[in-house]
Structure formats: C-alpha cells, structure tokens
C-alpha cells in the first residue's frame, strides 16, 4: 500500500510534466491540424536556458557554502522559469514564422534569407567560431547568397506543380525542424551531458501512510497547475482565446470574420512554447537529470501520445492524458517489468483508440470530402 501511494505520487508529478508538454501539441493541433514534432525540442531548449541561467547568466550563490543564499536563490529561480518561458515562447513563434507559415502563405524574402543563414551555419562553423571575423563574414555572405538563390530555385522547381497545402508537407517540415534543433544543438553545445547544480534548498516531507514527497515534486506540481489555470483563463475568457477557438473550429470562416489568423497562430505557438519551456526548466532544475540536445526526444514522444490519448485539440484531454500516462508509467516502472515502462504508453493508446477513436475527450468530426 505504501509503495502504491508513493508510486501514485511520482506518477502524478511525472504526469503533470507530460501534461505541460502535451498542451503545446494539442493547442497547435487544434488551430492548424498540425503535429508540431519540434515541440519536444522546444522543451529541450527550455532545459538549456535553465542550465545556462543557473550556471552562467544569473548570480546564483553556492548553497553548500552559504545556506543564507536560499532566499535570493529562490527569487532567481523564479526568474529562470520566466526566462525559459520567454525564450521558448519566442522560439515557438520563430518556428511558426519561418517553418510553417511559408507552407501556408508561400516563401517570402525574409523566409528565404532565414533558411539561407541556417543552411550556411555548418559551413561557417567548420571555419571557426562565429565570434571570429572570417567565419562570421563567411556565414553572412554564404547565408545571403543562399537566401537570394533559394527563392528562384524554389520557384523554378515548383513552376509546373500546383501549390497545395498538404498536411503531409507540414508534418515532414515539423520533423525537419526537430532535427535542426537537435543537431544544431549538438553543433553548438556539444554532446557532453550537462547538469544543473543545486540552486534551491530541497527537503523531503514524510506524509502519513509512509509516503515521501520532496519540495521538488511539490514545486513541479504547483507550477504546472498554476500554468494550466492561466492557460485555461486565456483560452476561455479572453478575446485572443476566443479567436483561437474560432480558428480551431473553422480557419476559413474565422478569416472571413476578420480574424488575423497568422497573428493568432503565432500566439498559439508562443503559448505552447512557454509551457514547454517551463516544463524543460522544471525538469532540468528539479529532477537533476542530464541535459543534452537530444534530451527532448523521449518526453516529446510521450507527451505527443498523451495529447492523442486525451483527444487532439482538447486541452483538458491533454492534461488528463498526461496524468494517465505518468501514473501508468510510474506503476509499470515500479513493478517487476520496469523495462516495459515506455511501451505501456503505446499499449494504453492502442486499446483506448479502439474504444474511443477520437481520444478520451476529443470530439469526432466527420470530414467532408
């Protein structure tokens, strides 16, 4: 019984993290019917922001040397969370602007130059660091050349094909963006694992029934709940939220009603990014796991499953799916069959989709052909 309760506590903590990431998937799926595979990597970037903020950017003091630093460190930790959310929100917007929007609206001049610069980055880095003059100049020069050539090439290649907004194209682009973030990250920070040092004091409380719960878990739960409450407020009670729901319902009709769909879509990506960033920062700082550029892969996939489980497009569904997955995983991991912990998510998914094809809380909408 004791270990049953204890596993449930871990499961809920793990599940609340999955839920935070899953909301990002579901929000974007809701408005664009797009599975944003790069979302797990946004989560990774949040973890890295937390790592750099805790080790370099912010004046954290060493707790083991000076226990009185606790108060100022906790204040700084809150700042780290906000920083991670801001950076990831911006990253979400950037991904939408340069990867997904050109698929909807065509490749603009800015898009071409952006991708030209991204493509030129490996060449420049092979010459040296970007802080040196020659590689920097080479990067800009090659990037601009690529940028100028990209549009004519795209137009020339596409001159005979009719442009369609295919879902498959968007999906492949999402996978591409995910790879750019993962392997770009490897290029920039390397594959060596990084660890966030102890910045906030940690305590473990003994609850009745033999359950132990740490401040870290309480903090993860509290922040996750708070953010979900804020999100619910935004989606249900604000004009922006109403516009998001309108787009989710019917994007063409929303456009006709005068909604600036591009802006609202950007906003949606910002929201999803901020939640993923918060999740990444919480995991990095409080579970002491190693951080590498490929760190977002597994949590990203599990959160995606959670989103599908709950019904893609449904925010309460994503939360429910995340919690369900976290608890199931904790129980399997704590049993004799811990090797099966990652497979259990998919087993649940398969069984559930047989019973409810639209997910737990998803609504099945018949598609007109």
């Amino acid at each position: 019984m004791q270990s049953f309760l204890q596993q449930a506590v871990f499961g809920i903590q793990l599940g609340s993290l999955y839920a935070l990431i899953a909301i990002g998937y579901t929000l974007v799926y809701g408005v664009l019917r797009l599975i944003n595979f790069a979302h797990g990597d946004v989560f990774m970037v949040g973890a890295f922001v937390c790592y750099y903020a805790c080790t370099r950017w912010l004046p954290f003091r060493d707790l083991s040397a000076d226990p009185s630093a606790a108060t100022s460190n906790i204040a700084l930790a809150a700042l780290v969370l906000v920083m991670a959310m801001c950076v990831c929100a911006a990253l979400g917007v950037l991904i939408e602007r340069f990867a997904y929007r050109p698929l909807r609206n065509g490749l603009g001049v800015a898009d071409a130059h952006f991708w030209g610069l991204v493509a030129a980055l490996p060449f420049a880095l092979s010459m040296g660091k970007l802080t040196q003059v020659v590689p920097l100049a080479a990067w800009l020069a090659i990037g601009v050349i690529f940028g100028y050539t990209l549009r004519p090439v795209v137009r020339w290649i596409a001159r005979r094909s009719v442009r369609t907004t295919s879902r498959l194209n968007a999906l492949i682009t999402a996978i591409g963006v995910s790879f750019v973030l993962e392997y770009g990250g490897l290029l920039v920070v390397g594959a060596d694992p990084n660890f966030v040092p102890n910045v906030v004091p940690e305590k473990v409380y003994q609850l009745p029934g033999g359950v132990r719960i740490g401040t870290a878990q309480l903090a993860i739960l509290a922040v996750a709940l708070l953010l979900m409450a804020i999100l619910r407020y935004i989606v249900v009670y604000t004009r922006r939220g109403k516009a998001m729901r309108a787009i989710a319902h019917d994007i063409e009709a929303a456009k006709l009603m005068g909604i600036d769909t591009d802006r609202v879509i950007s906003f949606t990506f910002a929201l999803g990014g901020a939640l993923a960033g918060a999740g990444g920062a919480l995991v990095a700082a409080l579970t002491h796991v190693k951080i590498t550029p490929l760190f977002g892969l597994l949590p990203g996939i599990k959160a995606f499953v959670a989103a599908v489980l709950g019904g893609p497009g449904s925010i309460p569904g994503a939360v429910l799916g995340g919690l369900l997955m976290g608890v199931a995983e904790a129980f399997v991991a704590g049993s004799q069959y811990s090797a099966f912990r990652d497979a259990i998510a998919f087993c649940i998914l398969i069984v559930l989709l047989l019973v409810r094809p639209a997910g737990l809380l998803g609504r099945h909408v018949a598609e007109k052909v």
Partner: protein
C-alpha cells in the same frame, strides 16, 4: 528567360561555395608522406557523442609515438601517426580504418575506446592481416574478431567479477542491481556480477531496469529500496549515475552504489550534486591507473603528460599511451613491418611495464592485469583497493 538566368546563377553560386569549402577542408587533413616513415594508423572519436574519450586517448597515443621518435625511431626509421576521426559512429569507424589500411598503408591500427566501434573495425583489420590494438574496449567480444585483434585493458567479465569480490569482501551480501536495459555493457556487467556474487555466497535481492534518456528513476528506486539491499550495483555511464544517485537518496535508498569504469569522468560528481553529494563514499572499479599510485612509470608518465599538454591524464590517455608503446615495443622485436610477423611479436608480449600495470597478453589476446576499486571522496576518486586476476581466482 529571367527565371532561367536566376536559376543558373543560383546553381553557380552554390557549387562555387561548396567547392571552395570542400577544397579548404581537404588540404588541411592530407599531407605529404616520406617513404622511409612507418605509418601507424589510429581511429578515434575526436568529435561526436564521446569526443572526450577519443581526444583523451589520442593525446596518449601521440605522446608515445613522439617519445619513440625522440628516442631515434624504430630500427632507424621514424614513426608517423595518421589519425582519423570516426565521429563516434561505428560505420564511419569501419570506413576510416579501411582507408588507413588501403590508402595510408598503415602497418598497425590503434583504437578504439567504445566496444561497438572496435567491433565494427576489427573485421577489416583481420581481413587485411593488419594488427589492431584497442586501448580500452572492454567488451569480451572485441578480440573474438580474429587473431590480429588485441587489447591492453581488462574485459568486462573480469571487471564485474572484481566488483562482485569487492562487494563480498566489504560485507555486502544482499545486492540490488539497477541496469540500463538498452546498453550491452550494462547488461553484460550485471549478468557477470550476479554470477560471481552468487558463486561467492551472496545474492541479488532485486533487479530493475532503466534506459539512457529517462528523466525519472524514482519508481524503480523505490522498489529497490523495499528489498533493503546492502549495496546497489549501477553499471551505467556517468551521465546517468549522478541523477540516479540523487533520486535514490530522495526516495530514502541510502545503500552505497557500486559501478564500473563507465563512471570514470570529471562530470560524475557534478551530476550527483557536487562534492559531498549523493555519491559520496560510493565505489567503482577502474583501470589500474591513478595519480595516487606510487609506481615510478605512473609518476613519470603523469609528469611528462602534464608538461606536454598542461592537463592531467585520465585512464583513457594512459591506456592509449600503453597501447602505442606496446606496439612500438613489438615493432622493435619483430624487426619487420609485415602483418604476420608484427602480429606474432605483439602476441608474445609478456610483463610489459605499462603505466596501467604490467601487461601480459593471454591466448585470447586480452591483457591480464589488475583493476582498482576507487571511492568517491569529495570531487576526487581515491584508490581504495586493488585486485589482480590471481586474487579473484582467474
């Protein structure tokens, strides 16, 4: 018309940029070679996921070759080390080793650290009858590729047996095992450990699994804690061990953790929350190399390495140094650069005074040598005990 012109420009620019860059790169890697030099090939993970392993080893190898040249070369000829980067990938390891043998005409191949890459390249060396010496691949299967494949380190089954003997000697009779289910090294280590500790009279009271990349280990750790073990074996890599240790302490699992050479990294202690953190007092086995060993070869190597590179060598650098020196010694005795003669000379190595202990190659072309048990104290790894093969009855 304008479109076509635009497109033509585009193609022209791109190809110009690519050739320019390609050209720069090529020039840097290939240089001229003199006919009288003996070419020694090395493949190493200079970039990629285990870049620190490759660079460390390479320094040791380079130092041994430089030493040999400073002493006048071998039989009147200088040595030239040609190093190829395999980007930490097995398929590239195979490609670059083929290139080292067929194009650079290397007389012997030194490498690799990771067993998967050594196993990828070994069949190539065997096929061309060029001896290969792995400095630090511990998987027993590496030297099974053929009679041209050697290593200067111990194997995982020996290492696991050492840890089992150590655990038993410390009075840890009930041991729990927490292994990385996807990692061959971890799985084999755990199996060999379990067999040895049962033979000695101890037992494995619980077993749980994790995977590289997991963020949460608490669920499994609680189950392990419920079995009340005297110690927990975590045969993983340093990147996970620190996190596991911290989460173990959080769930109230206070037993000491035990591990193998996968723990050996300056990142181990930071991952466990810094000096005096969750791993304080834990033990792991490692190659017979530490700055605390007072043997003269070790101390003079430490001083020379520090002088040359201004950093302290780790065990991988020492093993790289030993692999290259053992090769130079065999080359002198063989008096020839022909594969079969060189192979026989390497195979006949006996009591070679390496900086990682005396090396004698056995019939399976593995080194018989001692292992150390290190204890984590603060941010240092202190020598706690050492075991020779004879001591554990092997």
């Amino acid at each position: 018309m304008k479109r076509v012109v635009n497109a033509a420009w585009a193609v022209l620019f791109m190809s110009a940029a690519l050739t320019l860059l390609g050209g720069c790169k090529k020039e840097a890697t290939t240089g001229g070679q003199e006919a009288s030099e003996i070419i020694v090939g090395e493949y190493a993970s200079l970039t990629g996921t285990t870049a620190t392993f490759g660079n460390s080893t390479h320094r040791g190898v380079q130092m041994a070759i430089d030493d040999a040249n400073a002493a006048g070369g071998v039989n009147g000829r200088k040595l030239k080390l040609v190093t190829e980067d395999n980007q930490s990938k097995p398929d590239i390891a195979r490609t670059v080793v083929t290139r080292l043998i067929t194009q650079e005409k290397a007389v012997a191949i030194l490498g690799e650290v990771a067993s998967t890459r050594s196993m990828a390249a070994a069949p190539v060396c065997q096929q061309y009858k060029v001896p290969m010496i792995s400095p630090s691949s511990t998987n027993p299967a590496v030297t099974d590729a053929g009679d041209y494949i050697f290593r200067v380190c111990f194997t995982d089954d020996f290492q696991a047996a050492v840890v089992a003997n150590f655990a038993f000697d410390q009075g840890y009779r009930k041991v729990a095992v927490f292994k990385d289910i996807k990692n061959d090294y971890s799985v084999a280590f755990a199996a060999n450990f379990a067999a040895e500790i049962k033979r000695l009279g101890g037992s494995v009271v619980a077993e749980q699994f994790f995977q590289e990349g997991d963020t949460d280990f608490k669920a499994q750790l609680i189950t392990l804690a419920a079995a009340k073990p005297d110690a927990v074996l975590v045969p993983g890599y340093y990147s996970e061990v620190g996190t596991i240790a911290r989460q173990a302490r959080e769930v109230g699992l206070k037993a000491p953790l035990l591990g193998g050479d996968g723990w050996d990294s300056p990142k181990l202690v930071p991952g466990a929350g810094g000096a005096g953190g969750a791993l304080e007092g834990c033990f792991f086995s490692n190659h017979y190399f530490s700055s605390e060993l007072k043997e003269e070869v070790t101390q003079s190597f430490l001083a020379a390495f520090k002088k040359k590179y201004s950093v302290d060598p780790d065990a991988l650098a020492a093993l790289g140094y030993d692999a290259a020196r053992l090769f130079v010694d065999a080359l002198k005795r063989a008096g020839s650069t022909e594969g079969p003669k060189l192979r026989d000379a390497i195979a006949a190595t006996k009591d070679f005074p390496g900086v990682t202990g005396k090396i004698t190659l056995d019939a399976k072309r593995n080194a018989r040598k001692a292992a150390l048990i290190l204890q984590v104290q603060g941010d240092k790894f202190r020598v706690f005990k050492s075991y020779t093969p004879e001591q554990i009855g092997q």
